[in-house]
């Protein structure tokens, strides 16, 4: 679960990589929480282009992250999930609270 982050104005873009399952989730959770706590951030975009796999452990992690951000009036977005991850996000209903954005940030 490699990760890299980039801030543009008050939006943080987080590039995720590899597989996100229960084994990988706790490490990633800690990293994401740090970004979520940064005071200057208003929006967080999870760039999933480099992710190969995600199961319901990822759904739990993202729900937790969403609640944390919401408490601070920050919004979460998805970008570019693979077909496998898109299906997990659809079945889990996450799209109804976390929108998918279309444009890429270089």
């Amino acid at each position: 679960m490699l990760i890299s982050a980039k801030t543009v104005n008050s939006t943080i873009y987080i590039k995720l990589r590899g597989d996100l399952d229960h084994y990988k989730a706790s490490d990633l959770k800690n990293q994401l929480n740090k970004y979520a706590d940064m005071p200057k951030i208003k929006r967080m975009v999870l760039d999933m282009k480099g992710m190969d796999f995600m199961d319901s452990a990822g759904v739990g992690l993202i729900m937790g992250l969403y609640k944390k951000l919401k408490n601070k009036n920050k919004q979460l977005y998805f970008f570019s999930p693979s077909p496998q991850i898109d299906k997990v996000l659809r079945v889990s209903g996450l799209y109804s609270i976390i929108p998918l954005i279309e444009q890429e940030v270089k």
Binding site: D19, D21, H22, Y23, A25, K29, F53, D55, S56, A57, V59, G60, L61, M63, G64, P83, Q84, K87, V88, V91, S92
Partner: protein, 140 residues
């Protein structure tokens, strides 16, 4: 093509990705689509994770058994533990139902995903005896 395999391995979180890639590799001989392979990996990952965190409650001394059978392009896969079992299977199958503490961030969607990613799902469980999940999927 008919083919059989069974895999036993330590119930540790490091083996979640190993387990799903073994079942995926086993199916390759039927030449399934990438989508079907991903569906199977996802469902296997859910079932194996459940054995580790629910069945054995993260104790490292359990073992998980996966049995898989291909016959005429139909995959049948069973995933079992000898862990604590499920008191009420019907309840456990409910969307968003989880017995994990909130801080563990389980979504309660494992069985939901198994059901929607595979063609069939059957769960047999005995309190104190363990849990066996059987799933099928047509590969062609």
């Amino acid at each position: 093509m008919n083919n059989n395999m069974s895999l036993k391995f330590d119930a540790i979180a490091e083996n979640e990705s190993f387990a799903r890639s073994v079942v995926a590799a086993f199916c390759v001989s039927c030449d399934p689509t990438v989508e079907k392979i991903n569906d199977i990996k996802t469902a296997v990952s859910e079932a194996v994770t459940n054995c580790i965190i629910h069945g054995y409650e993260n104790m490292a001394n359990g073992q998980i058994l996966i049995e898989a059978e291909l016959s005429d392009d139909l995959l049948k896969v069973t995933i079992s533990d000898n862990g604590k079992g499920i008191p009420d299977v019907k309840e456990a199958l409910t969307d968003f139902y989880t017995t994990s503490k909130e801080s563990d961030e389980r979504s309660g969607l494992g069985f939901t995903i198994m059901k929607s990613f595979m063609d069939s799902l059957d769960v047999q469980s005995e309190l104190g005896g363990g849990t066996t999940v059987t799933m099928t999927k047509r590969l062609k």
